[in-house]
């Protein structure tokens, strides 16, 4: 497998990371090197092996549906790039 420059641009788009043409060239070579390492995985037949997503057999703990956290909106919004009237401000999405 080998990633093309177009693949790299598509992946960067998926990851919401802006890349310029020089970076595309560098990432293409580095990512292909890394995928060369990753491809070693294909040498093993894993048919019938259950995928392991976690180190422990866990179940999702549930709690009672009660308010347990205090309201700390002011403290959390004090470190936000831009807020107004308790809302986070972002560029307009819908005209």
């Amino acid at each position: 497998m080998s990633l093309s420059a177009e693949d790299v641009k598509r992946i960067a788009k998926l990851a919401r990371i802006r890349v310029n043409e020089d970076e595309v060239v560098a990432y293409q070579s580095q990512l292909n090197g890394i995928f060369g390492l990753i491809e070693q995985m294909q040498s093993v037949d894993t048919a019938g092996i259950a995928p392991m997503s976690h180190a422990q057999d866990l179940f999702q703990r549930l709690r009672a549906d009660e308010v347990i956290e205090p309201d700390r909106r002011a403290a959390f919004q004090a470190i936000a790039p831009q807020t107004e009237n308790g809302l986070y401000l972002v560029p307009k999405v819908i005209e």
Partner: protein, 486 residues
């Protein structure tokens, strides 16, 4: 300055020094050495001394614990209220945490003042501390060499005696590999033993916090503080409280040490091979037996890790979007433009590479070939360990294939850097506890690390083996000559 936490505890209990005095000494040493080592990102003497005064008051009131008043440095991945918490990234270069991580709460409750926040690879992605936005940490044994990573600042500050102990985190070797390269002792607990709440996430199914100190005994005392159930981490384990120091004085007679043949192959050469062989001989002298074991799938652990960890990272790091906290690009056209520029400018290149690998392996059409295959290999790797532990009590190997390498030596080729963790990564995939302790020096005078791997929840036994080894050797007491030292 060479004091262990255990001896500081005795000093404090005897009233021979106050916490304020100890903290002032360490802060002075940090000020003198940090210019050259760059082990700390943030130091705040006023905060440290306020915590030290509170610790002295706690001891005076008779309510202090064993470690009350003894200071500690924290990796800058742990959110600490009122402290700049950067995770080594420009993305969080303005992030003053509004809350404490569970680990920070625990150390505060124990009365252990924070000496500062230590430098690290950006978002814990790296094995040399060279990906930090705040510049590389220098290895105290040789300033031209790396301290290892990602907990490079924590390892370097303990080695240079700028702090008696530090916290670290380990996703693929980030406590053990820098501990080895800096000549200190570090432990990664069983996954789920230490809460990840407030510990900035890299790969959530692998990340685990742990202690770094001069000795195994100190690591046991620190783990007693750090470990415990926390409902805010959905993977925190509800287990009865245990004393991790309970096995320290257990003799090694009859202990079965497993030596994985895959880790003692042709890749292990030179001074590292010799030091590990000598450590095995020492442990045999102490009564341990050795048995050859097999970990046949371990050679694929790095490949599987570089699918699973980036996949989880690409998801975890999607939260850094310039909306709620952290860096936001100054100029943008629309929302997508803001996201893309914020992330392009806020993340360094190693973090971007890993986010892109993760985005790719999780994307439509590639998920089965990469992500599911990697999870299946993860199962095979974990099964190998289960089989090995049928034949032995602990597993032993080198921690890293080489001693500390030169700054810039491996930055051009990510794959070469990734192979620094060939002996440590499988342990994270399986979720087992592992540790590194000093076992010698190479011809250049650089420290060599010995890795011990325990079965699930067998930290106390593993720490006991390390402590017995440290009673019989003095590698852990060696320290680098720093400028100004007598």
């Amino acid at each position: 300055m060479n004091a262990t936490l255990k001896s500081l505890s005795t000093t404090l209990a005897a009233g021979k020094a106050s916490s304020v005095e100890l903290c002032q000494d360490y802060l002075a040493r940090i000020q003198a050495l940090n210019v050259s080592l760059n082990a700390f990102i943030s130091v705040d003497a006023d905060k440290t001394l306020a915590e030290a005064r509170a610790a002295d008051a706690l001891r005076a009131s008779g309510q202090g614990g064993l470690l009350t008043g003894a200071p500690i440095a924290h990796k800058d991945i742990f959110c600490a209220e009122g402290w700049l918490t950067t995770c080594g990234s420009k993305m969080l270069s303005n992030f003053i945490s509004p809350y404490d991580a569970h680990v920070i709460e625990r150390f505060k409750a124990a009365g252990m003042p924070c000496l500062g926040k230590t430098n690290m690879d950006e978002f814990a992605m790296g094995s040399s501390n060279e990906t930090s936005f705040y510049g590389p940490v220098r290895n105290p044994w040789d300033a031209e060499r790396v301290p290892g990573g990602s907990s490079g600042g924590s390892a370097a500050c303990v080695a240079a005696r700028m702090a008696p102990a530090a916290t670290g985190t380990d996703t693929g070797g980030s406590i053990r590999q820098p501990a080895a390269l800096c000549g200190i002792t570090g432990l990664k607990p069983t996954y789920g033993v230490v809460s990840r709440y407030g510990m900035i996430a890299f790969a959530s199914s692998l990340d685990q916090g742990g202690p770094m100190a001069q000795t195994a005994e100190d690591c046991a005392l620190l783990l007693n503080v750090m470990a415990g159930f926390d409902a805010r981490d959905s993977t925190s384990l509800e287990r009865p409280k245990e004393d991790y120091a309970r096995g320290l004085n257990q003799p090694l007679a009859g202990l079965r040490i497993g030596l994985p043949r895959e880790f003692f192959g042709p890749g292990l050469v030179g001074d590292t091979a010799k030091a590990v062989e000598e450590a095995i001989a020492q442990l045999r002298k102490l009564g341990a037996e050795t048995v050859e074991v097999g970990l046949p799938n371990s050679n694929l652990s790095v490949a599987a890790y570089y699918v699973l960890a980036p996949a989880e990272a690409s998801s975890n790091l999607s939260r850094f979007d310039g909306v709620r906290y952290g860096y936001r690009t100054p100029e943008y056209r629309d929302l997508t433009d803001m996201y893309e520029k914020t992330r392009a400018e806020g993340f360094g290149s190693e973090v971007k590479r890993r986010i892109m690998i993760g985005s790719y392996v999780l994307s439509h059409g590639y998920y089965d070939a990469y992500y599911i295959q990697a999870q299946r290999l993860r199962r095979l790797i974990a099964n190998d360990f289960s089989a090995a532990f049928q034949q032995c009590d602990v597993i032993l190997s080198p921690t890293a294939p080489t001693t500390a390498f030169k700054l810039g030596e491996k930055t051009a080729d990510p794959v070469e850097m990734y192979l620094s963790d060939i002996y440590t990564i499988a342990v994270n995939l399986a979720g087992l506890p592992g540790m590194s302790l000093p076992c010698g020096f190479d011809a250049r005078g650089l420290p060599i690390g010995l890795q011990l791997i325990g079965n699930y929840f067998d930290e106390a036994r593993m720490l006991g083996v390390a402590h017995q080894y440290q009673l019989a050797t003095d590698w852990h007491q060696r320290r680098p000559a720093m400028e100004g030292d007598a």
